[in-house]
Symmetry: C2
Subunit: 62 residues, 2 copies
DNA sequence: ACATAAAGTAAAGTATTCTTTACTTTATGT
DNA sequence: ACATAAAGTAAAGAATACTTTACTTTATGT
């Protein structure tokens, strides 16, 4: 996600505006503190033009 | 999702065991009461062998 | 080195997701 | 028609996601 964002060359703040969440939400997700809702995941996938699976992966135990 | 489940011919209870949630969670998601977490979405996508985007879609306004 | 943008962190509060229990309704087979 | 499996519904509580505010640290350009 951080990588995809870097490719698009946008800041956390910009991305947060695009998907209508707070900047901290982006930051917290990027730092792996929690997994976003499916709605956010879909929005990000849309913006980055990749499948959801490419941004978020299941842990081996899941 | 209901359709995918029908194709696989499994019950809500069976699916709920597969992805380790309560049956009500499956039922509630199927009836559109709320959108699941990304982890659940990924687990379902994996079980049904389809992309997340094929199971859950963004509302037009999102 | 300095100013400023960007990112990291933290804590309290709100909102949403998920569980548990339990009961009702609908479908399926015999 | 009856028994049983499957699905629907509801409500209270636990867990997790998200917001808001605010402050700190790190990066970037001049």
């Amino acid at each position: 996600m951080r990588v995809l964002r870097a490719i698009k060359n946008i800041t956390q703040a910009e991305l947060s505006e695009m998907i209508q969440v707070s900047r901290q939400t982006i930051n917290t997700i990027e730092s792996g503190k929690y997994v976003p809702s499916t709605v956010l995941a879909l929005k990000m996938a849309k913006i980055f033009a990749v499948p959801v699976e490419e941004i978020f992966e299941l842990e081996p135990e899941d």
